[in-house]
């Protein structure tokens, strides 16, 4: 026994060392592009610079303490939580319905619909937001025309509607992307399962609930995690719309915008780094919890 356990351990150790050579290209790039920036951000967050006078002081965790009582940060955080809770389910259900419809083989020109629904994802967020911003205009835009037509008073760019309007843009952009994730999940379901279901007398809806949705669980978890990350990082859409309504979309509208304006507007790089790190940790924790829950239900 003793002699047989000795040899493999030796060879494994040798393998380990040789393995580093193969890992090195990745490890170096990973360290430079991933670990180093995070390290730099963490370092930044422990200091307090004075941009105008060049003083730098080590302040330990002061920036973090400040952040936890910063209502501007937490109100932005709450806003993206609301966004997450409302927009993400709507978007994913729409994407799911679209994927199921295209996969159902009952749709004529399914390929055409697939492309059309996916197309908005190919439009850069900047362009999409400018385009929507134009349509949202309540004096001359599409919103103005619709309000005239129906006698309604909907102002997509007002304080009350802004978040919903942003949600609409994001949904429009990403339904197609999520649909593709779901659709590819559906394509890999073995045809034998459908045959068996049909023999057992399952109708189309029974097939959806008993075969298709369970098979999609992994894809749904992945899409959900992407969407959570996307929501917490909400930046482009509100920041571009800000050109139209700077008073409504304040500089602390989302945590990412807050970090952006702190650093590039106010030169408060240290505090901005703190915001970024705290948001990163929160995002990672929530994404991890979702993944764990998704995996547990799956088995």
């Amino acid at each position: 026994m003793a002699s047989t356990t000795g040899r493999p351990r030796d060879s494994r150790r040798r393998l380990d060392q040789r393995g580093w050579i193969f890992v090195a290209p990745f490890a170096i790039v990973f360290a430079l592009t991933f670990l180093a920036p995070i390290g730099y951000a963490v370092q930044l967050s422990l200091f307090q610079d004075q941009a105008f006078f060049g003083g730098t002081a080590f302040v330990g965790l002061d920036n973090y303490v400040l952040l936890f009582s910063d209502t501007r940060f937490w109100s932005g955080f709450l806003r993206v939580m609301i966004f997450l809770a409302v927009q993400v389910p709507i978007m994913l259900v729409l994407a799911l319905v679209a994927a199921l419809a295209i996969d159902s083989a009952r749709l004529h020109a399914a390929g055409f619909f697939r492309i059309v629904i996916f197309l908005p994802y190919a439009v850069p967020a900047v362009v999409a937001t400018l385009m929507w911003g134009y349509m949202y205009g309540t004096n001359f835009g599409l919103a103005a025309d619709l309000n005239d037509l129906f006698g309604s008073e909907i102002r997509p760019l007002s304080l009350d509607w802004a978040l919903a309007s942003i949600g609409n843009i994001v949904t429009w952009e990403f339904v197609g992307y999520n649909m593709i994730i779901f659709y590819s999940g559906l394509r890999v379901i073995s045809g034998e399962l459908y045959e068996a279901a049909a023999l057992d007398g399952a109708g189309p809806f029974r097939t959806i609930f008993s075969i298709k949705l369970p098979a999609l669980r992994g894809a749904i978890v992945i899409a959900t995690i992407f969407s959570i990350i996307g929501s917490f990082q909400l930046f482009n859409e509100p920041n571009i719309l800000r050109g139209l309504i700077p008073n409504v979309l304040t500089t602390d509208y989302t945590p990412n915008m807050y970090a952006f304006y702190l650093s590039f507007g106010g030169q408060q790089y240290n505090y901005a780094a703190t915001v970024a790190i705290v948001m990163g940790v929160i995002t990672a924790v929530i994404a991890y919890v979702v993944q764990l829950r998704g995996a547990r239900k799956g088995t």
């Binding site: 941009a51 006078f53 900047v126 800000r242 139209l244 700077p246 500089t251 590039f264 507007g265 106010g266």
Partner: protein, 447 residues
């Protein structure tokens, strides 16, 4: 014309690059200008070399080319890194990095104290620039001074005037307002006659607000020495302005279409917005972007508070400055002197439709007598050049004006969204300005 369209919509694009630049910070702070003299400028021009010039002035490229033609030894690399905020983000990053910045840069008057007090700019006093005072209007000359130093030469000026849609005024029997009370009365009359029309649009714009406070005699910002800052947005002049403007904002007599947006241009074109209070660069904007209203607009002096002697304020305008990190400050200063003081350059600038800061050009009969077809043949420069001599003196911007304006929307801007008291909004702005200033090492008093 060179007024910054405030929120250029795509400035997020620059950020990925900016992040990289910000990462390479270093504290290389080579100071220069010890042996500056007017002779050094001529010597530098003879010797030649290469300098970089950052600007978004429409005629910037052409001026650079004309300069190279006159001084073949000098090579000017003209770069437009963006307008307004984009430009300052890039500039700030280069300053923080200690390299990568231009030799000569455009800076708006509002941002000059910020860059001068950070000691990023060369004080041009030694180069004999102090002798050029008579060439410029009093207000722009004041604007290029920070403390005792001269940090640039004025490129253009923006004395404020009242631009109004004559067709709308005639249709509703409204007289051109002489006082702000007249203006409020005109607002009520117009909006009552046609609820889709407004005397003006004001969605809350810090540059506009501060200029009107300036005109009203308010001096909310003061800086003494390097660090002692006073912020007082409740001084008498400021209150004078809010007393008028509250009637318009709280009374919903102004619409809130954000400036420089497509909707704004259209509303200027179809009479929805009947007047614009803006700097003398406004005709260029109207002619270029509001062609629908050609022949309808006219210009008048800014209304006053007492109906007496006309008084106005500067709104926008820029200077060219030399960066301390420049390897060739003598040549850079020589370029600045040529750019904003040599007639060959000024002619190119005027040709592009710019509104000058040089008294000789403002007083030239050719400029004053120009009759603009867009303004129905009105000699608009008579009004505007007169305004240039009537700017109230003693105004100062904050040494952190750029960030102050960024957070204006978060605080004072809320009064515009909710149609509530502007005084309360300005107080909220003041609170954040005091907090930020103290955090950054200034000693901020509330007056």
């Amino acid at each position: 014309m060179t007024r910054t369209p405030r929120r250029k919509v795509i400035w997020a694009l620059a950020t990925s690059l900016a992040v990289l630049l910000a990462g390479c910070s270093s504290g290389d702070d080579s100071s220069s200008g010890g042996n500056a003299s007017p002779e050094a400028l001529d010597a530098a021009l003879d010797k030649g070399g290469t300098i970089t010039y950052w600007s978004w002035t429409p005629s910037g490229k052409e001026q650079s080319a004309a300069f190279e033609k006159e001084y073949p030894n000098v090579n000017v690399e003209f770069v437009n890194v963006g307008t307004g905020e984009d430009h300052y983000t890039a500039l700030q990053n280069a300053i923080k990095a200690g390299r990568g910045g231009p030799d000569v840069t455009q800076i708006e008057y509002r941002a000059l104290p910020q860059f001068a007090l950070q000691e990023s700019l060369v004080d041009l006093t030694g180069y004999g620039f102090e002798n050029l005072e008579d060439d410029y209007t009093a207000s722009t000359w004041e604007s290029v001074h920070v403390g005792d130093g001269i940090y640039g030469l004025p490129q253009d000026s923006g004395p404020m005037a009242l631009f109004y849609n004559k067709e709308v005024f005639t249709q509703y029997g409204i007289a051109v307002p002489k006082t702000w009370d007249d203006y409020v009365a005109a607002a009520q009359k117009l909006h009552a006659a046609d609820p889709t029309k407004y005397i003006a649009s004001d969605a809350g714009d810090p540059g506009f607000t501060t200029s009107l406070i300036w005109q009203a005699g308010g001096r909310p910002f003061k800086t003494e020495g390097d660090r002692d800052v006073t912020v007082n947005l409740q001084d008498e002049g400021t209150k004078k302005w809010t007393a008028v403007w509250n009637k318009l904002v709280e009374g919903k007599l102004v619409t809130n279409i954000t400036g420089w947006t497509d909707e704004w241009y259209r509303a200027l074109g179809d009479g929805t917005i009947a007047t614009v209070t803006a700097g003398a660069w406004m005709p260029g904007i109207l002619m270029e972007s509001v062609q629908a209203a050609s022949g309808k607009w006219a210009v008048a002096p800014l209304p006053t508070y007492d109906g007496g002697e006309p008084v106005t304020a500067e709104h926008g305008g820029s200077t060219q400055s030399v960066l301390k990190q420049s390897d060739n400050p003598d040549l850079a200063a020589a370029f600045v002197r040529w750019l904003n003081n040599d007639q060959a350059s000024l002619d190119v600038f005027l040709e592009s439709g710019g509104f000058p800061a040089t008294t000789a050009d403002l007083e030239s009969s050719e400029f004053r007598d120009f009759s603009s077809p867009y303004f129905g043949g009105q000699k608009i420069n008579e009004v505007l050049t007169t305004a240039a001599t009537q700017v109230s003196s003693g105004w100062e911007y904050l040494p952190y004006q750029l960030y102050a304006e960024t957070i204006f929307y978060d605080t004072a801007g809320q009064a515009y969204v909710n149609n509530t008291d502007l005084d309360a909004g300005l107080r909220a702005w003041q609170d954040t300005l005091v907090e930020y200033g103290n955090q950054q090492g200034f000693s901020v008093n509330q007056g």
